[in-house]
Each structure stands twice: as structure tokens, then as C-alpha cells.
Symmetry: C2
Subunit: 326 residues, 2 copies
């Protein structure tokens, strides 16, 4: 490590920006200047559970395998933020779930279509249309998607590696700093705590004839620290804590708040995360749950999370403005 | 390890079948009995590169990260086998690319749709249709998909873990043994050579405060051995070899043929796999390439791979039948 550099500085210092980074940065700047003075949120989608990974490293595999989610939390939340009027920057791992499209994965979409032949006077017109019995499900989602596109309120930026993600996180944060308290960061991408340093990777495929390998993982520097203190000091910052052990959940969430001085940790347990989360503030906490009726009616917990957050954010903006005026 | 058991027997002995396995098995049996005496192929899609994993463990990350593919080889090949008249069993990792649907990932599909309002005498009808300028691309694929569905020639079975995959592989193979030489196994799922044994995984999420962990990987038993010798002794078996080092490619492919006694290894280099593969037989090998014109015209190498394979398989069936009659 270079002398006097903190771990995060060293991280950016030692890595080169990914290809395409300049173009992403321009998109971010253009988007932010177009939505000046509006409420804006950066939604990041889990680095490690996007697309589902395959080598289970723990029994209750939080970090490396996630059969439950391929980015549902982030992509669903982005939809609800758009619905609440926010401009949304959606930073997601390539091939993970995207807002609106997430409802129609795999062959779902092809199954909804039918070929229609229309006899005109002179020719047969072929059209492909959505079947009548799928319209009820598709139409509202399509209209919300088209509204987000037409109003230019959704910017999606994909990434593939951890390094890509960290470069984008800093660039997006720096753009958002101009928004002061009107910016929210909704960091569903609780970055993997560990990574394999590039210089310790073998260049070629590991040969199985050499016997089982052992892999040493390194700690990823905690970017929340510079993010909260330097990059977006006035923004409303929400991080996530995913654990499998209920006893550790609140304790570790509060430790994170004390360490990073941000506004809120949304804590959840892997097995119950679709139905219950805990909002942990520095000096209070409460649960947000889906009731039985809500589960039956396919209500998504992200709608309640975002709805609660929007009012917390509103209060925060007001508080900051009053602080400035007094 | 239990005395006198080989590694693969031990594997099935020590693991319980996944939930849903009985239902998958019934589907396989029903499908196979419906297509008796026809040409049939089992296509398996990479275990480790389906959906893209996230923790790079090697520089040229063959095993754990694949930004290039999320199951393109398998899903494209399945389409071409259907086109060639085969019944196709497609065993794929959940969330990886599926035949036909692979052409319309993410928001591609939503971008193709438009809402049409039709004024009738008494009411306004709302319909959703594919835009005219997307019809040319969509229609042929949709028609091939619907044909595969209507003729009942495509069976898709998803899996999530390595263990799921290995149970399905054996069950599918056993169903295919009745087809004799008319069955082909196209094992694009070159199973990860390594896995983390269940009994060595920590139960809860690894805590980063405990410092970087070290992970010991175990060798996965080579299932090609019992597959070729016991499960489907008469079938035409194709395996894949993916390397990053050209010097090792042919040598290691031929070693595999010598070891397992199957029919063909399709060898490819990670960086060039979309444009060139090598067919390696016990005593000969040749390349299959895409020419510049073909690349420009978006020809997929899978179309050439499958076309070549179909004629090889035809010759193999004939040879076996003649062998039986003489």
C-alpha cells in the first residue's frame, strides 16, 4: 500500500477505470444536469447476487449464491421510486433483473404472444400481438415503463465486475453531490466483503490434475466511509445489511451506522427478506412487514419500503432546509 | 468414502435427491416414451457460466466468471437441433439463457411493444402489438418457438445447484439408454471441476471482522465415466473442453477421449469460442470456423457445429445398425 493512502484511495489508485467508463460518466452528468433540483435516487443492485452465482461457499449462502434473488430488491424498488416521482439512476450488474422487464423473464414473454393474420383487400397482413388474457398483467407495466422512458427519468448503467461497480459508485456519487439533501443513495449493492486480488489469480484455467486449489480472498475496502464523508456529505444514504443470523442483525446494523454516520440501514434476514425488513436508525428501529392478506395479493415489500423512505426523505430535506435558514 | 465405492457412487450415495427431482424424472420418462425411436439429444448448459458469476478466481476466468456467455452455446444449439428434427431435452441452470427467449433479454422485449387503441362503434379497444419494424426479427423466432411447443419436441428442465445437475444428468441418461445409438448427449455443461463440500461450509455468513477466509475446493467426481460405460453405453456422447491456453487444448481433449471412451470432444478457447472450435476425435481433428462474411451476417457457430454433428450422428447410427445386422 502506498504510504499515507487509505484503503479506498489505494483501491482507485491501483485500478484503471473500466473501458466504457468515460461514456457512463458523461451519461451520469447529462442525466443529473437534466434533473437538477428534483428528487433523485441512486439504486444499486447487489453485486454478488445478480444473476445467481454458482459455487456455494456457505450453507446459508449470502455472498456467493442466491437462488432467491437476481436483483429483485433493486429493480422493484426502482419502479416504486419512479412511481413516487423520483429521477432514478439504476446501476446494475449486466444480466441481472431490470425494472419492468423483471416481470417477464425467460420464455414468459414469448408465451404471451400470438400471430394474427388479417385479410385485407389485396394482401394478408401478419401481426404479432399480446394475447387477450395476458393484457391485464402486461398493460399497466408496459405503460409505466413507457412513461419512465418518455419522461427521461430512468438511467440504467450496467456493470460486470466489482471494479466497474466501484468506479461507477464514485462517479455517480460525485454527480449527486450537487443535489444536496435531495439526493438519496439506496445501496442495495452491499458489495461483497471479499475479492480475489488480480495479482494473485493464475493466468490460465486451474488444472484439476494439480489437485484442489485453495483460494485466498481479500477484504474489499469499505466505500461507505468516503461516500458519506467526502463524495455526498449531504445526501440521504441508505445501506442494506443481509444476515442469516437474527441475533447479529440489529447489532451489526447499528455498528455500521456508528462507523459510517449515514442515515439508515435496512436490515434483513436471507430467509425472510421478501416479507420483513427492519429499518435501523441510530437511535431507533422498527419492522416493516407484509401481512398475510398482502402476501396473498402479491404486494411487494419494496412498495412499503419505498413509501416509508419517501416520507423519511421528505422530512430530511425539510430539516436540512430549515437548518440552512436558521 | 465408503469401502469399494467409486467416487461417483459415493457422490450419489452421500447426497439426497433435490426437491422436485421425482417430478423432473416423470417428465423425462414421459417425454422419452413419447419420442421413442426418434433422434433425441440431451443438451446441458454450463453449470458455472450460466447467469454469469461474480467472484473472479482466475485471470482468464473460465470457471467462475463468464461475461461472454450466459448459456449461449447450449441454448443456441438446442434451437438448431430442433430445426434438424431432433427431440430436445434441455437441462439448464435457472435464469440462464433459454432457447428462443435468448434473443430478447432484458428490456429488449418491452422496447418492441406498442399500445394500440382501436375505436369501435361502442368502445375503445386497447391492444398491445409488436412494432412493425421489429416484426422481421421476431416473427421467425416466435414461429420456431411455437412449432417446438406445439410439436412437443422441447423439454426444458431447470436446475440450480451442482447436486441438482448431477441427479438430473443421471436420470436423463438412464431414460436415453433405450434409444441406443439414436440418442446424442451434448454436454455443454462441463461441470466445474471443483466444489465446496457441504460439510465444510460455515452455517452462517462469513464475518468480515474475522479477516479474509480461505476456501478449500474439492474435486467433483468425473461423471463422464459412468455415463459412457454404464448409463448410456450406446449413445453418441459429445463433451466440451474449454481452455485458455491453445497449447493444452488438443492434448487435453485427446486425454479426455482416451480416459472416457466417448465419441467427440468439442474444444474451444475462451477468447475465440464464438468463431472457432475444434472437433477432436480419437484419431483425427479438424476446425470449424466462421468466415468473415458469416460473422458479418450474424451466422452463429452453433449452426455449423450442429449441422456437422447431425451428419456424424447419422453415420454413427448407420454404423451401429450395420454392426447389429452383420
Amino acid at each position: 500500500m502506498t504510504k499515507n493512502m487509505s484503503r479506498w484511495e489505494e483501491f482507485y489508485h491501483s485500478l484503471t477505470p473500466p473501458s466504457g467508463f468515460d461514456s457512463s460518466k458523461r451519461q451520469l452528468q447529462e442525466f443529473c444536469s437534466r434533473h437538477q433540483n428534483k428528487k433523485i435516487v441512486l439504486v444499486t443492485v447487489p453485486y454478488q447476487d445478480s444473476g445467481g452465482t454458482t459455487v456455494p461457499l456457505e450453507h446459508n449462502t449470502v455472498r456467493f449464491v442466491d437462488n432467491f434473488s437476481a436483483g429483485t430488491r433493486g429493480s422493484a424498488s426502482a419502479e416504486y421510486f419512479l412511481h413516487a416521482g423520483y429521477a432514478v439512476i439504476f446501476v446494475f450488474r449486466l444480466k441481472s433483473l431490470e425494472p419492468f422487464a423483471r416481470h417477464f423473464t425467460g420464455q414468459t414473454f414469448l408465451n404471451m404472444l400470438e400471430v394474427r393474420k388479417e385479410n385485407n383487400e389485396h394482401s394478408i397482413n401478419v401481426a404479432v400481438a399480446v394475447k387477450g388474457n395476458n393484457l391485464g398483467e402486461l398493460l399497466p407495466i408496459l405503460q409505466q415503463y413507457q412513461d419512465a422512458q418518455n419522461s427521461g427519468r430512468l438511467l440504467q448503467i450496467p456493470f460486470t465486475t466489482l471494479s466497474d461497480y466501484l468506479w461507477l459508485l464514485r462517479a455517480a456519487s460525485e454527480c449527486l453531490s450537487d443535489f444536496g439533501p435531495k439526493a438519496m443513495l439506496y445501496l442495495a449493492a452491499a458489495v461483497s466483503d471479499f475479492y480475489v486480488p488480480t495479482d494473485r489469480m493464475p493466468t490460465h484455467k486451474m488444472q484439476s490434475t494439480e489437485g484442489p486449489p485453495t483460494i485466498s480472498l481479500q477484504l474489499v475496502p469499505k466505500m461507505l466511509k468516503p461516500l458519506v464523508n467526502i463524495w455526498v456529505p449531504k445526501a440521504y444514504v441508505v445501506s442494506f445489511k443481509l444476515e442469516t443470523d437474527t441475533n447479529l442483525l440489529i447489532k451489526k446494523s447499528r455498528e455500521a451506522l456508528n462507523k459510517y454516520n449515514h442515515n439508515l440501514v435496512i436490515a434483513n434476514i436471507l430467509q425472510t427478506r421478501k416479507y420483513t425488513v427492519v429499518f435501523v436508525f441510530p437511535d431507533s428501529d422498527y419492522e416493516i412487514n407484509l401481512g398475510e392478506e398482502e402476501i396473498k395479493n402479491n404486494v411487494e415489500i419494496e412498495s412499503k419500503i419505498v413509501s416509508d423512505l419517501v416520507s423519511k426523505h421528505e422530512a430530511y430535506i425539510k430539516e436540512c432546509e430549515e437548518g440552512n435558514n436558521s
